[in-house]
Amino acid sequence: MRKLSHPDHLAEWKALILEERPVHAKTIAVTAGTCGRSAGALPVIEALRTEIVKRGLEKTVGLVVTGCHGYCEMEPSLIIYPEEIFYKRLEAADVPAIIGETVLKDKIVSRLVCEDPATGRPAVRPKDIPFYRKQMRLLTEANFHIDPLRIEDYILLDGYQALSRALFDMTSESVIAEVKASGLRGRGGAGFPTGLKWEFCREAHGHPKYVICNADEGDPGTYMDRSLLEGNPHSVIEGMLIGAYGIGASEGYIYVRGDNPLAVNHIGHAIERARKCGLLGENILGSEFHFDIHLVTGAGVYVCGEETSLMASIEGRKPYPRQRPPFPAQEGLWGRPTNINNVETWVNVPLILRQGSAAYAAIGTERSKGTKIFSLIGRIQNTGLVEVPMGISLREIICDIGGGVKDGKALKAVQTGGPAGGCVPASLIDLPIDYDSLVQAGSMMGSGGMVVMDETTCMVDVARYFLDFLQDESCGKCVPCRIGTRQMLEILTRITRGLGEPGDILRMEELAATMKAASLCGLGQSAANPVLSTLRYFRDEYEAHILRKTCPARVCKEIVSAVPASEEPRR
């Protein structure tokens, strides 16, 4: 690998990689993100390696250890190219059949194939599998192909070409104009227009300027950022490079959650490789543009995902959030103009430059463009990461992609937006999902968690769970959040124990208004959302707990223990 010092070097390198690449008749791509490994991917990979060597197939069969393919329910899984055969729930014992039958004789091993529940027929290729069929995998498709430890794999998929286009065919103003025209909004939660944010930072006075990638993904039940960092780390780096060029920043930081060691490892490795190739550092691709990225590993504090807290953490100070304004674009890291975007936002940037803002803006709804990755979890048949165009209905996500509620139970609600979000009731299942529709429904997009709840889920317990989380994570700097989350949790705990009093609901609503108005940062301002949104749609459940001392879903143990033994609690 040589240092790239001219825009043409990218294409030359790609040609060279293609030329030197061994021509394999078959390539096996095994999913090995964090969850794939937890489900047992590594022994499968080891067995595949051994089997390939044992049968002397090193020259004809390639093995790629990729990141997450999104279909967590079926992991460990693999795809055999070129036929695109998807095999699910593998064990090392399946390997001889995979090699002996499929790879050598082109026979499908039917027990490893997914089934289309609608037709009862086998669904062999991802595009036949209901889970993948309605997805639009613009950001996550590369995870099917790339070995995240090989920059060459990213180059083969035209990686860093968008950067080259930005540096040599576009001015920094036109890069920002392009992102503005695409309609991209921040994927971290608030949905602020990305191009506009960049422009604020670009126009701010101060030098140097910084860009930050917020990879402190802490919302329980979300892991799309981890999956992108693990599976396709160079796309994050390329997005940051393009943003930095547009904004005029010379230094970047990636702040990654320490609880995701594989993500830390892969992005760290990618930064080093990019630096060695001259894609980070001085005179990138021979241009006048200098930019480098530092990796900072977080240390297990949820509030560090809040931007002012995150910056304090990078600076080595106690990571308390602070008042805004001034916004980071004016006074950010070390008081300099700083632009912070979330991982998924950054990964959208190379895509926008590759296909052009018009094509990008053609996807989605009027005010929410592109795709969004959701983590579909909870009481759902197909747990996993799904990438769908904005505006898709909740019904399509839950029923078509998710395969419906687990065990044929009735859908009660979908919780979106993480702890700061809210619940969308089953009656709104035809709601088209975008930033604005979710807010109207009393929830929010957030970072993209989607927790499916059925009749066995108690909504008061859910609210209590999130308040327990938020109370624990409140940093304690401001009173409304510190005391408010505590009081709210105490009231909710009383209610779930059958000790609720008439007037509790009113008390919580008053408390919620104070927390929202007076808290310093997003954590406190939105901490009451889980309560408010469940009250909006499931007030009767609160009333059942408070007035009749019953838990309709039979979840709250203290109340349930008072009911006759014939009606055993579910858990």
Partner: protein, 171 residues
């Protein structure tokens, strides 16, 4: 991943621990922004941040010891006390909560006779909870020193304790 990764315990070898911190500081930068990375390295090398290290770190970064102390106690990943040989981490993310993660954590608490966040008196086990490790399809989810245990049940709890109770401790 190896089943029983080794971690050094400072208490067992004070002299070596002193060396470690000195070496870590020698290699690290000396600006305030280097604090987090330094704390990570000490925590990894020693399994805790020894209180004796705080003044040295503060001097190195031209900070007051109270500033360093304030930062390190803010973060959950850093600990002044040494952890047990095996750290059991129970995920309590939304998906694990819905599937009964709390019961798993409570089972460990009962069996070990400690609360989450504590270490057994024989320093064998530390019990911790974490807010989502993003393995939502295979919860309830437990990690012991980097080894993953998906679909945890009451039986898993016993199996884990049996396996590690009899296991060779780290060197």
């Amino acid at each position: 991943m190896t089943p029983f990764p080794k971690s050094k315990d400072c208490e067992e070898n004070e002299a070596a621990a002193g060396m470690d911190i000195h070496d870590i500081l020698k290699e690290a930068g000396n600006r305030q922004r280097d604090l987090l990375a330094i704390l990570h390295r000490i925590q990894t090398a020693c399994g805790r941040i020894p209180a004796e290290a705080v003044p040295a770190v503060a001097r190195h970064l031209h900070l007051s010891p109270s500033e360093v102390f304030g930062v390190l106690t803010f973060y959950k990943s850093f600990s002044l006390e040494s952890k047990g040989e095996f750290t059991i981490t129970v995920c309590l993310g939304t998906a694990c909560h819905v599937r009964g993660g709390v019961e798993i954590a409570e089972a460990f608490e009962r069996k070990l006779g400690i609360k989450a966040g504590q270490t057994t008196p024989d320093k064998r086990f530390s019990l911790e909870t974490v807010n989502c490790l993003g393995c939502c399809a295979i919860g309830p989810f437990v990690v012991v020193n980097g080894t993953h245990y998906p679909h945890a049940t009451a039986k898993t709890v016993e199996a884990i304790l049996d396996a590690y109770q009899g296991a060779e401790g780290p060197a």
